[in-house]
Symmetry: C2
Subunit: 296 residues, 2 copies
DNA sequence: TAGACTGTCAGTTATAAGCTGACAATTGTC
DNA sequence: GACAATTGTCAGCTTATAACTGACAGTCTA
C-alpha cells in the first residue's frame, strides 16, 4: 500500500488557512511558528504541489490549496466530532431507571440483565415493577416498559429488541402421542393455556399455503410461564409459548417442539419509552446494552 | 485549547476494526502488531473508554467503539480523498486547447492570459481563433468559447467570468461639450459605433425610474475596439463600450465617462464549453486560472 | 500435549515533532 | 529615509513519539 498520509498535518494546514498567517496558526495550535512552517512544507512535499502562496505579512491558499482545504476541514471536523461524541456519551450515567415488564419476562430476563447492567454502571439505580397488566408508561412515569406481543412496527418509540416465534411444546413422552403427519392431530388434545392468551380458543398452524385451525382442550391455565413450563414438562399435555422462553429446555431435551415445519404467529419483544422525552444517559446505555445482552 | 487529538490513531483503530484482528491491521498498515496494540491503548486512554473487547483469537468493538468507528471511518475516507483529489487534479495538464473569442477581447485579454497560462503549463498548447462571428463550439470542435453579451444565466455550460457595464465615454475636451444635467444632451451628438452594435440606433440611459432614449448621430463605425478607443481619444465624439475595455484609459484620464450616475445595459463575459463532455485536466486548469487572472 | 495464533509488555532504536535563536524580506510609522 | 515591527524560514538541538525485536501468556486445534 501507498505510504500512509500524516493526518495531523491537515490540522496545521487548516489552522493556517483559518488564521490567515502561520504565526496565527501557531498561536491557535499552541506550538511555535517554525514548526507550523515546517509541517506545511512537509505537507506540500507529500502532496507534490504548493498549497499556499506566501508573502511577507500574509499568505493565501492556491487554487489547489482551496480545494484541499475544503476536504481537509470537513475531515478534521468529523474526526474531532468522533472524539467529542464518544467522550460525551461516556459521561458516567447516573440516577434512577424505572422499568416495567411482564412478570415472566421480567423474572427470567430483565432482572438478571438489570443486575449485570448495575454492575457496569453502579451509579444507576434500577427500579423494576413486574406486572402482567398494561401500565401507562407516561402516567405511571416509567422510563422503559417491556412488551411482548404483535405491535405494529410503526408504534412510536417502541423499539423491537428481537422477534420470536410461538411454538407448540410438550414433554418427550407426550410428543410420542401428539406428533404425527399433521397438526390436526392436536385437535381436542389437552392444553395448558397462558393467561396471556385469555379467552383464546384456537391456534392456527401454517405451512406454505396450508392452514390448520386447532381447537385444543383447555385443561389448565396459569399466569406464570415458569409454572406452565413445569406443568408441561411433567404432564400429558402441550402448550404454546414464545420460543425464547423454552430455549434451554428444548436444548436439554426436557421439552420437545411439536410440528417444527409448521409455524404459529410471530411476535416481538419491545422496549417502549415515553414519546417526546429526551432519554437520559442511563436509559441510553441501558437500551444499548439490552440490544446485545438482554437475552443471554 | 484542549490538547489536539492524534488523528493518525484513527487509522490504526479503523484498520483494526476492518481487519478484525490487531495482527491483520498491522499487516495492512505495514507496521508491527505491537505498535498497533500500543496505539490502540493510547487511543482508548485519550478517549477514556474501551473501544475494543479483546479476546484471544479475535476482538470486536464495544458499543462505544462502533459509534466511534463510523465517525472515524468517515473522517479518514474524507481525509484520504483530500490527498487523492489534490494529487489527481495536479497531474500535469497536457494537450491542445482550442479556444475562440471575439477579436477585441481576444487581443486584449485572452492572448496575454494564454501566454501566462502556457508558461505555467508548458505541456499545453493553446490554439486561439479570434472572430466576431458566432462559432458553433460543438460543430467546430472548440474546447472553449468566450462570449460577450447578455446571455441568460441558465444557459448550459456558460460560465460567467464577470459582469460589466456599458458606459458612454469620450475625450476630456469632448466631455466639456457633452456632459450636462441630463443624457438627453447626447441626442444627435456624434457617435462612433462598434460593429458589435450593428444596426443599433438608440441607447437607453436609466436612473432609478427615469429613462432617456438617446439617438446619437452615427458618424463612424469600426469593428476593432482598439480603433474606436483611439478614435474617441483623439476626436470630438462619444461611444459606448464595456467598462472593462477602457478601464486604464479612464484611470489615466485619457477618456472620461459621461453621465456616470446613469446606467446603460449590463452584460457579462462568458466562458462556454461544450455540454456533455468531460473537461480535460488542461481545460479545468485554464478555467480556474481564468477566474482570477484573465482580466488582470 | 505440542504447535499455531493472537495480543501485550519491556527494552531499545529510529524518526518526527517541537524548541530556540538568528536572519531576510516586507510593511508601517515617524 | 531610517527604524521598528511583523512575518516566514532555516539550522541546530532537545524532547517526544513511533516503531522495532524478542519474549511471554492465553486460547484453540490437531
Amino acid at each position: 500500500m501507498t505510504r500512509r498520509n500524516n493526518l495531523n498535518r491537515l490540522a496545521h494546514f487548516v489552522a493556517t488557512v483559518d488564521a490567515g498567517t502561520i504565526t496565527g496558526a501557531a498561536t491557535a495550535l499552541g506550538i511555535s511558528k517554525a514548526v507550523v512552517s515546517k509541517q506545511l512544507q512537509l505537507l506540500e512535499a507529500d502532496i507534490g504541489t504548493p498549497l499556499l502562496l506566501r508573502n511577507t505579512r500574509h499568505l493565501q491558499p492556491t487554487e489547489a490549496g482551496r480545494v484541499f482545504y475544503e476536504d481537509a476541514k470537513s475531515a478534521l471536523t468529523q474526526a474531532n466530532n468522533a472524539y467529542e461524541r464518544i467522550q460525551e456519551r461516556d459521561r458516567k450515567p447516573r440516577g434512577v431507571l424505572r422499568i416495567t415488564a411482564p412478570v415472566d419476562f421480567g423474572v427470567s430476563y430483565v432482572a438478571p440483565f438489570a443486575a449485570r447492567f448495575q454492575e457496569v454502571y453502579p451509579d444507576v439505580t434500577v427500579n423494576m415493577r413486574l406486572a402482567d397488566s398494561l401500565v401507562d408508561i407516561i402516567e405511571d412515569r416509567y422510563d422503559l416498559a417491556f412488551r411482548i406481543g404483535q405491535l405494529s412496527d410503526s408504534s412510536n418509540r417502541a423499539r423491537k429488541l428481537m422477534s420470536f416465534e410461538e411454538i407448540a411444546v410438550c414433554s418427550p413422552t407426550s410428543a410420542a402421542r401428539f406428533q404425527s403427519e399433521c397438526p390436526s392431530n392436536l385437535d381436542g388434545a389437552p392444553f395448558i393455556r397462558s393467561h396471556a392468551f385469555a379467552s383464546k380458543t384456537e391456534w392456527i398452524f401454517e405451512k406454505g399455503d396450508d392452514k390448520r385451525v386447532i381447537v385444543p382442550k383447555i385443561v389448565s391455565e396459569a399466569n406464570i410461564t415458569l409454572a406452565i413450563r413445569a406443568y408441561v414438562t411433567a404432564g400429558f399435555c402441550f402448550t404454546v409459548l414464545p420460543d425464547f422462553l423454552v430455549r434451554d429446555e428444548l436444548k436439554d431435551g426436557k421439552l420437545k417442539r411439536l410440528f417444527p415445519d409448521w409455524s404459529l404467529r410471530n411476535g416481538g419483544i419491545y422496549a417502549m419509552t415515553p414519546p417526546n422525552r429526551v432519554r437520559s444517559n442511563a436509559l441510553q446505555r441501558f437500551l444499548e446494552m439490552a440490544d446485545s445482552e438482554l437475552l443471554t
